[in-house]
Symmetry: D3
Subunit: 256 residues, 6 copies
């Protein structure tokens, strides 16, 4: 594994010359996550997972994009959203750029629900250019959440500043969690929740959807491990389908 | 001062309610800086300077944008460039977004030469929308460099992976500097250098323009202080011209 | 219910004056569906379902858009695809236009998998304009398929020119089905199927994914009824969430 | 002749393999045509004419585009207009797509005045890509109208919901004409009519420009035949200029 | 009349304060006009006509745009074409700008066939913004040509570097005409001439379409007078239709 | 030297066949320059300088673009500004077009401060297309001004309708200068002048920044000569860097 932010260009040249063809791009957001979690929660999570995948596949880890499309949370001060078009453009530029120096597959670890459409649109465009990219939207999140969390979901698959996300940040950046401000919030959701874009500030005054209180760093570590397993399996399936040229590094931790 | 990445939305709300109207946005790049400096050099420097300015003006510090327009270095593996149009779009979206929750002035600390045109284009567009933004391109850099560095410039005002940048990274992220790989490089520049876009890989095989060897962390600290003084003075002039509503916080270090 | 294609502008004026605020827009595609089904299969199905919903909700039925984004099938002669950007633009223009004469909610009945990203992108954009639109991607299709079909799915949720689609076209436009050309095809799918855009011609030479042979018009009718029930329930949930101003017409068929 | 909507991809493959290189694309609109004609009048007419041309030249008939640029009629409820830019984009995508499977000439049968600029703009763009396309705006309409109609024109060459259009729809879709609502309307036109875009609702409250009352289906058939002759002659001239590779099918009706 | 190029801003302020609301914008091109005419022929003609109209209506004369869309002549060295999109953008910007200081009607005198689509597209867009603009494409040219010229047209309405254009340039910029290089050229035109964009260099090696030899400056003056009459009548009809607020200046030459 | 506006295409063909590969494009603006100077001041100056450079380098002189980006002066009637995007688009189209007939280097003589960003953006884009272009923003202006003018600068490097510009227009188009309206104006500039876009009408009611009164045509000639020397040296440096294929014509005036 090689981390672009801290490496020199000669390090990258060497890595590619040695056969490295896989890049991992964490795509985050800067959006509200309740009074107790930092605005960079999505970026921290995407970067945390991407880092584990990069280690496992001996891949190039790109710096996380710290802003994303997060219109749904724009009603909260501190949320700073890119437009959907800009999000797509950033993704296109970055993937095309790494393709330029020898990367043949880019795995995007998406940390923000609002990025889904713009990132998959970019992937669709890149497919027409024969550039290989897959977008991971936390595969296995529901199973992992069901396994680890003790509190109910605010809605099936919806976790925002809840026990899951709070546990993850406790594991990844404990200093940014304000435990004294945690409070549960189970907003009544409209009957058509999930069928259309909604402003979260009209649903939950605190920005919380769930109950963060039982969160722990241990749960966060366990969630990260499960998410890594699901994501790594998806990446492996993809690489296998392409012809299997890339394999997990021997030094990757055993998941069994 | 408040850092968006580690703050919650309620922290931001409070800061703005207390009169905070100034945001600082460091805009970096991911580009080659020789074999001895990390690809994130420009981002580290922009963030380092922005952080000092945010402290001094009790402003909101935004997460640094870790990618920029860096076509001139695209010939080196590891450089990952946004297009000029995307760079402008990112800047427009971010400034408009903070304007949405009460920021009235945004100071962009630009860390990359290639970002100049796209960021100033964004500023020009924002002016037509009556949104107040200024872009700082390291004001006072030449004076500061002349004062601190011992080795000659590769060209007037040109420093890339040289004594200045190496000293700055030594001060900001010492673990990323590979002193064993330092070597001077004073490429012969074409007669029209600075008059047109040039690919750096055609000029300097190592990507270095200058002599990094006498760099020290102390020099880096001194440079940062000087750059901060020049930048703070520019920001203050701007705020004064607007009507002087924002003042340095009492707790800012004395520069005299 | 009122059908735009066959109505005059005065008919529309009357309908809106009488309180009509709901429009249904079927969005189809022109893409290969094996040797036995017509290229307009997706349009026929979207229009068939939209027509039933319009009747049930006494809504305005818009002419179906007969072209969509169908890059995945572009390798087959006869497939005629819009780009994703154009698909989004068409959707934006049409919804904005009906909003202009009094429609407050538009339900898009999407008949083509490739339209999903562009149509949901349009919906996201429209949300930022406070224009109310929902996109239905055959909710309940898997349940309905499981209930009606006798042959296995080519993959979970994947039906293309198979028993389901063939039954639907038999019910909607029987003259266009060439029963003598039906043949089953269960292509081996790559391990990462569904994770990235794929060209269907590289997977199935005939363009069929499943077994069309047991299809019947009766099954098609049954499928339509089930799809209508699921879709109507989704629309009703949406209308309820908005405040319940629109109700099914008294003459709608009983679903119980 | 082969109709895309009802054909399978294998039918198209066969047609192209047998030398078919000509496609006909009817481009319609959804716009007001008085109280007695359907909103799809332009689409019906373009499709009707395109169908005859496809038969005559043994060409591929594409599904009609049911929406067009019709800003001038946007003041009437039921009119649903695409923007000029979207109209151009749709045309570009469709022509490029059929070019992709072997079509070398596309004839666009334009049914809507407002589509002229956007479609000819598309043709101009396609010319720079060496893609062959011609746009027919009802060549011979004035001569045909002069020959058949009994009532005066609302203005030279202007027919909208008048005797001509009503006769055509009577011939093409008789069930959609509401004879009981017919009324003549000869609005006073501004001195600069035709020199600038005008909103029709400011000129004619009913949306009629002419006198529909003497319309008959027979006149419609006669008009269609005349329009077909003029259009076929234009297409033939174009094909001759290209080298004459395509000829009318032997089974085409004799025009003499 | 006031000419923007040579006036100061205070002159314009005065003119508008005195009731001036009409601007005339000549839109030219830089394209080949045979070996004997200058590349700026279209600009000279548009400016010449615009100047006369400005005098007649006491209007503001804008500097001529010296480049236009002229793809058809791009095969000749010296032709410098704007794209259609840029041509439209220039027109939109200029008309919006003069609207900003009080102009209520802009008359565009178009000197280049290739500008028609882009300029009328701009006018259509401006109509949706309620900005009043008309585009004049030499109304009355055929009548004027029939009256003055002695040589036949290369095709009905087609004059390019022929007797008409040569006479006009002789009247407007005699020093730029090279009489020693004049030669007639009546290229055989394809059967579909006028139905699609064509590259002129494939039709006429010299770039001439007609016979320039009998051209005289007197004929040019006569043509200009006739074109002015037709154009002035069109402008007057337009102004009358708007409500007649603008009238010819008393000092305009008598055309009768 | 050859001037495109007055030459025929065959003249251009000959010039290029004889080895001409250099084009000079003056890019002006239409913006206020006080009550005493014409709105076309920037265009006159850019054209004047470009003409001298074309003579000196035996280059192709293109017609000046008479409109530019001049948002800062949009508050004065008569200023007619292109948007930044349009300015960039015009530049891209023109340079690409001359590249199409054999020009290998284009020198843009920029006459308007507001054009800088859009023109340099175009140059950056053209560099990615390997098209060679340089933009000259009056190199040596400050030195030349210091040498010639008697009155102080309104700000370092700022001259607008002052002694310098007035002298230049006196030399280039004396008939357009209204000496009776000259008045000095030294507006108080905000502390951050030059750091952000500013509307000039908020600073100087007359639009003058400096003192035009001591201006003379002789000073204008002297300034032109100095600007030509500085610009020619810059062009020569650029040509030398490219390989020195182009040399000053023998007939160029001696600068020593």
């Amino acid at each position: 594994m090689i981390e672009l932010a801290t490496s020199s260009w000669t390090d990258v040249q060497e890595h590619v010359a040695a056969g490295g063809t896989l890049a991992i791009l964490p795509f985050g957001a800067l959006e509200q996550h309740g009074p107790h979690l930092p605005l960079s929660t999505d970026t921290l999570q995407a970067d945390g997972l991407a880092r584990r995948l990069a280690a496992r596949f001996d891949a190039i880890l790109m710096p996380p994009v710290p802003y994303g499309q997060t219109w749904d949370n724009a009603g909260f001060p501190g949320t700073v959203s890119l437009s959907a078009a800009t999000t797509t453009a950033v993704c296109l530029d970055l993937v095309r750029a790494v393709t330029g120096f020898g990367i043949t597959t880019t795995v995007i670890v998406n940390g923000d629900y609002g990025n889904r459409l713009p990132l998959h649109s970019a992937a669709q465009q890149l497919a027409t250019e024969s550039v290989d990219v897959i977008v991971l939207d936390y595969p296995g999140l529901i199973e992992a959440g069901d396994e680890v969390k003790e509190t109910p979901w605010a809605a099936p698959g919806l976790c925002h500043a809840d026990e899951i996300e709070t546990s993850l940040v406790m594991a990844l950046a404990p200093g940014t969690v304000r435990s004294d401000r945690m409070a549960a919030s189970y907003p009544e959701l409209p009957a058509d929740f999930g069928m259309r874009p909604l402003r979260f500030d009209t649903l939950s005054p605190s920005g919380v959807f769930g109950d963060p209180r039982p969160a722990t760093a241990d749960k966060g570590q366990r969630l990260l491990m499960l998410l890594e397993q699901h994501s790594a399996a998806a990446v492996q399936r993809h690489l296998d389908a392409l012809g299997g040229a890339v394999h997990p590094s021997a030094s990757a931790p055993d998941l069994s």
